[in-house]
Symmetry: C2
Subunit: 180 residues, 2 copies
Amino acid sequence: MSDRSRTKYIILGMLSIEPSSAYDIMQKIKSSTNYFWSESEGQIYPTLAKCVRDELATCVKDSQNNGRLKKIYTITTKGRELLIEWLEKSPQDASVRNEFLLKLFFARNISTDTTILHLENFINKRQEELQSFKNINKELLLNHDLHKPFWLATLKYGIENTKSELEWAKSTLKSFKLLK
Amino acid sequence: MSDRSRTKYIILGMLSIEPSSAYDIMQKIKSSTNYFWSESEGQIYPTLAKCVRDELATCVKDSQNNGRLKKIYTITTKGRELLIEWLEKSPQDASVRNEFLLKLFFARNISTDTTILHLENFINKRQEELQSFKNINKELLLNHDLHKPFWLATLKYGIENTKSELEWAKSTLKSFKLLK
DNA sequence: TCGCACATGTAACGCGTTACATGATTAC
DNA sequence: GTAATCATGTAACGCGTTACATGTGCGA
């Protein structure tokens, strides 16, 4: 596996918490890291298979799952070592592709009304997002394992960031309405 | 060209401001949109060539550039129409890959000292970034063309976001130092 | 004369998304 | 019955990065 693939690290990270299936990992990503790191199905399944080939994880078939096939993956010592090595390295800069801001940057080419509409949609989405963060926060506060301070910290990042986006969007919306 | 390629839209957007060379476009991206949309050389040159083939832009060779070869690209009516059509469509959600947050999420696996180091580096980077935003802001305030309100708005987004990241990081750093 | 900024590109590689394909169980 | 969720995967496609290759002009 190429060293560039960061998909394997989120997989190893999730497996370092507890043994899981590919489906479990996808669910966990969607419910916990999605706002700063997402993955697609078509990436998780082949990368998990590769982790097994590279002896970073092992796989057992679980048949006690109501007859449903479920493959449970467990991290190996080698996998844990590789994960730790990566975690300790200085993180790369975040890569962002924010289509909303790009469209705003070139918005001189379209009507102010359309831009206002996009801003209003943005505000609505951020408000929904903030609500879902608050729900996750409630659940997380009940959790008491050793991951808690780290999960709270990343979640707080999401909350603060979304709040800041909301304030910016509201003030920007106001200024564009005056522009008309 | 596939409709999925968003590289062509940032190119058309930059050309909608003024005719430019590939090199110019790269410089503009680096100095103005890089914090929410970046592109690499290996993407700009072939996509520009494709824009010419698809009649979204035209190209003339500039020989008045001290003997240096420089190809100046100009957006066509078709290109401008395609750009506007895209700008008006509701923007897709931003995709983010924040390695720093991902490492923090799994930081239970490493020492608190290493995490503290990563946080301190993060704070330093954000402080530098904030300073460079402020310099761009100064320049932008002197500018008086029709793009100004949009460029100020995206820049303000960057500034507010970075400020929020800084506050979060400082408070998180404090809490991890207490944890030790 | 040495290095940096200007200026153009190509090649290799594989990452990552999207769409497709399949099928069981559960809740309404 | 039927839709949603659970659960597994593959195939196609091309996007996007990284590294390479080449050369000029300018300032220290």
